[in-house]
C-alpha cells in the first residue's frame, strides 16, 4: 500500500511540476510587449530590486503596515519549501541529520500556525473574505494539511501514508488553483523588475541629489 502511495506521490509531484512548467511556457504564446522606447536604466538593476531590496519589509508600505502578515507569509513559505524538501528526501530515501530534523519540526510547526493564521485572517477581515473565492480557502487548507502531515510524519512512525495522501492531493491541485503562483510569482517579479529597471525608477540603491 505504502509503495503504491509512494509511486502515486511521485507521479503527482511530476504532474504538478510539468503542468506548471507548461503553463509558464504557454504564456509565451500571447507574445511579448514591444520594446522600442530607449531604456533609461539597466534591466539588471530592476531585477536586483525586484528580488532584493524590493522584498524587504521596510521597503514597501504594505508590508510595513502589515508586518505580522508579512512575517507569517515568510515563515509559511519557508516551511512549505522545507516540507517539500522533506517530501523528496523521503521519496529518495535520503537520510536527514537529526539536528536538521529538529529545526525542520520547528519550522513546520511555525509554518502550520502561520498558515492557519492567514486562513483565519481571510475569514475574519470582511474585505478579504469578500474578495476570496473557494479556491483561496481550499489552497490554504491543502497546504496547511501538507505541513501538518509532514510535521506529524517527522514525529510519529507509521504516518507516512497520510503524509503521502495529503502530498498527492496538494500536488494535483497546485496547477489547477491559485497555488500555481509558486511559479508565476517569479515570472511576475521578473516582469516587474524589467519594467521599472528599464525606466530607471526602481534601483537596488538610493540615488539622491546633493
Amino acid at each position: 500500500m505504502l509503495s503504491l502511495l509512494r509511486i502515486a506521490a511521485i507521479i503527482s509531484s511530476i504532474f504538478a511540476f510539468v503542468s506548471l512548467f507548461i503553463q509558464v511556457l504557454k504564456t509565451r504564446n500571447y507574445g511579448r510587449k514591444s520594446l522600442y522606447s530607449i531604456p533609461q536604466g539597466r534591466l539588471r538593476n530592476g531585477l536586483f530590486y525586484a528580488f532584493g531590496k524590493g522584498m524587504l519589509p521596510w521597503e514597501k508600505e504594505s508590508t510595513r503596515n502589515h508586518l505580522p502578515s508579512y512575517l507569517a507569509g515568510i515563515v509559511y513559505h519557508l516551511a512549505i519549501f522545507s516540507a517539500l524538501l522533506y517530501f523528496f528526501s523521503l521519496i529518495l530515501s535520503f537520510k536527514i541529520n537529526i539536528h536538521f530534523i529538529f529545526l525542520l519540526r520547528i519550522l513546520l510547526f511555525s509554518g502550520f500556525i502561520c498558515g492557519l493564521g492567514l486562513l483565519f485572517k481571510r475569514i475574519i477581515i470582511p474585505e478579504l473574505r469578500w474578495m476570496s473565492v473557494a479556491d483561496d480557502f481550499a489552497s490554504n487548507i491543502l497546504v496547511d494539511l501538507f505541513l501538518l502531515n509532514s510535521l506529524i510524519e517527522s514525529l510519529i512512525e507509521g504516518w507516512r501514508a497520510f503524509f503521502f495522501i495529503s502530498s498527492i492531493l496538494m500536488f494535483i491541485y497546485i496547477p489547477l488553483g491559485k497555488i500555481r503562483h509558486c511559479f508565476f510569482f517569479f515570472l511576475a517579479r521578473i516582469h516587474f523588475g524589467l519594467f521599472y529597471g528599464r525606466r530607471a525608477v526602481l534601483v537596488p540603491w538610493k540615488k539622491r541629489v546633493s
Binding site: S34, K60, K178, F184, R199, V201
Partner: protein, 454 residues
C-alpha cells in the same frame, strides 16, 4: 468610429442599476476578442500571480478615502482576472464559481466602467506595494482599452480624445489663436528680460529643441509658457515651438485606445522630422511624458531617432552646466513638491526636480511619502475629464491634501498640469491656502539675468 451605447451618470447612480448598456451578443464577442488580442505574456504572468492577499488595499487613495470594497486594487484587477480565468484556466472553464471566474456580460462590463474608469487614476502605487509586483495600472488600462473598442469610454473623457484627433490639440485651439497667444507672450518676455531680441520662436527649422506643451498653458496658464521661454532665453538655447503640433498631451493613453494614442503621438514625430530637430522637450505634463517618452514608440512600433526629454531634465542640465544662474533668495516662501505618478513612478524623472528646487528656493520641504512612493493627487487617469466621477476624485484627493497640509508649505510645486488643476481644486475644497506653481515658474522667478545682453 464605434457606435456608442449611452452611458449616463454612473457615479450618481450609486450602485443602483438604473442605466442600460444594451450590449448585444455581437458586441460582447467583440469585447472578448479585444481582450484576448490585447493580453500579452506579462499580463498573463501577472493575472496568474495574484493571490487575493488584499495588501494592495491600503496603498490606494480611493480605498483609503471611501473604504468601498470596489476600490480595492485587487478587486479592480479581479474584474479582468475573472474573465481571464473563465477563458484560459481549466477550473475556470469547468467549475467557474470555484475560482471566481465569470463570463463577459453586461454586469461585468458595468463593473468595469465603474471601477476601471471611476475608481482608478492609473497611478500605479498599488503595483509597488503588491508582494507579487503586479502592474495593476497597466492591466486596468488594458481593460479600458477593451471598453474603448466597444465605444464605452465615458463621453466626457472620449470628447477630449475626439477633439485632439479632430483639431490637433485637446483644447481645440485654432492656429490663429495660438499664434496670437505666442506673439503676446513674446512681447511680455521682451519686457521682462528687457531685450527686444528675445523671442518665442515658431517653426524654426534645424533648432535643437522642439518644446511641446499642454494646451491648458496658453489657455489658462500662460505664465508657465512664459517661464519656459525665459529659461530658454537665459540658457541661450536654440529652440522652437510648433504652429500646428504643439500638444504634449495624449488622452488616448487614458482611454486605453492605442490606435488614437498612436495617431496623436505620430504628429509630434512628424513635426520633429519636418523641422529636423534633435530633442523633443516635453513641458511639465505627467502623462504627456509617459506617453511620449515611453509609450508612443510602442504604439507606433518604431525606435525614435531623436531624444525625448522632460523640461525638468533640460533645466537641470542648464544648472549643472552653469548655463543659467539662480538666486534662491528670490523665493523665500516654504515650498513643497508633488511627484506626478506618470513622470516619477512610471517615468523615472525623480531627482531632477529636487535638484532644481534646491537651487531655486530657500525653504524646501519634502512630502511624506515622496518620489516613486508618492500618493496620487487624484487628478490622473483622465479623472479631471471624467465628470461623472468628480465627487470621488475630490474625496480621493484628501490624502494628498493632508500630505500638503503636514508640510506647512505655502507653495506646492507640481510639474504636471493635470496635477495642478486637481491640487487647485483640493486647495479650495480642503482650504489649504496654498499657491500652486510649475517648476519652470519657480525657476523663472529665481533667474539671474544678464541685463546687458544683446
Amino acid at each position: 468610429m464605434n457606435e456608442k451605447p449611452e452611458i449616463k451618470n454612473i457615479a450618481a447612480e450609486k450602485d443602483k442599476k438604473t442605466f442600460r448598456l444594451d450590449l448585444d451578443k455581437e458586441k460582447l464577442e467583440k469585447a472578448l476578442r479585444l481582450f484576448k488580442l490585447k493580453i500579452k505574456t506579462e499580463d498573463v504572468a501577472y493575472l496568474n500571480a495574484c493571490v487575493h492577499c488584499g495588501l494592495c488595499a491600503d496603498s490606494c487613495h480611493y480605498f483609503l478615502t471611501d473604504k468601498n470594497r470596489n476600490s480595492i486594487p485587487g478587486y479592480k484587477l479581479g474584474l479582468l482576472r475573472d474573465l481571464f480565468n473563465r477563458e484560459n484556466i481549466f477550473l475556470g472553464k469547468i467549475f467557474p464559481r470555484w475560482i471566481g471566474a465569470r463570463d463577459l456580460n453586461e454586469d461585468l462590463i458595468e463593473n468595469w466602467i465603474d471601477s476601471l474608469f471611476g475608481r482608478c487614476s492609473l497611478c500605479g502605487r498599488c503595483s509597488l506595494n503588491c508582494p507579487m509586483g503586479i502592474n495593476i495600472a497597466y492591466l486596468i488600462r488594458l481593460g479600458r482599452g477593451v471598453l474603448s473598442g466597444l465605444g464605452l469610454v465615458p463621453e466626457s473623457l472620449q470628447r477630449v480624445v475626439d477633439i485632439a484627433l479632430e483639431k490637433g490639440n485637446n483644447m481645440g485651439i485654432d492656429e490663429e489663436e495660438w499664434k496670437e497667444t505666442v506673439k503676446w507672450l513674446e512681447e511680455e518676455l521682451r519686457k521682462e528680460v528687457n531685450d527686444p531680441a528675445a523671442s518665442l520662436p515658431l517653426d524654426r527649422k534645424g533648432a535643437k529643441i522642439l518644446y511641446v506643451l499642454n494646451p491648458r498653458e496658453p489657455m489658462f496658464f500662460p505664465l508657465s509658457l512664459l517661464a519656459a521661454g525665459k529659461i530658454f532665453y537665459a540658457a541661450k538655447e536654440s529652440w522652437t515651438l510648433s504652429t500646428k503640433n504643439f500638444d504634449v498631451t495624449n488622452y488616448g493613453f487614458y482611454t486605453g485606445d492605442d490606435e488614437s494614442a498612436a495617431h496623436i503621438a505620430k504628429r509630434l514625430v512628424s513635426e520633429m522630422e519636418k523641422l529636423k530637430i534633435e530633442i523633443l522637450v516635453l513641458s511639465e505634463c505627467g502623462h504627456g511624458f509617459n506617453s511620449n517618452r515611453w509609450e508612443a514608440p510602442e504604439w507606433l512600433r518604431m525606435r525614435y531617432d531623436f531624444e525625448v526629454k522632460s523640461i525638468l531634465e533640460v533645466i537641470a542640465s542648464y544648472l549643472r552646466q552653469g548655463r543659467i544662474k539662480l538666486d534662491p533668495a528670490k523665493n523665500q516662501k516654504i515650498y513643497t513638491l508633488h511627484d506626478p505618478c506618470n513622470l516619477v513612478r512610471f517615468g523615472g524623472v525623480i531627482e531632477e526636480q529636487r535638484y532644481i528646487l534646491k537651487n531655486s528656493v530657500l525653504n524646501f520641504k519634502e512630502m511624506n511619502p515622496n518620489r516613486e512612493k508618492n500618493f496620487c493627487c487624484g487628478g490622473g487617469g483622465g479623472q479631471l475629464s471624467l465628470t461623472p466621477f468628480a465627487e470621488r476624485r475630490i474625496k480621493a484627493g484628501k490624502i494628498k491634501a493632508e500630505q500638503i497640509r503636514k508640510t506647512g508649505a505655502q507653495v506646492v510645486v507640481a510639474p504636471c498640469h493635470n496635477c495642478i488643476d486637481q491640487i487647485m481644486e483640493l486647495n479650495k475644497h480642503y482650504d489649504l491656502r496654498i499657491e500652486v506653481l510649475t517648476v519652470a515658474e519657480v525657476v523663472a522667478s529665481a533667474l539671474k539675468l544678464n541685463r546687458n545682453r544683446v
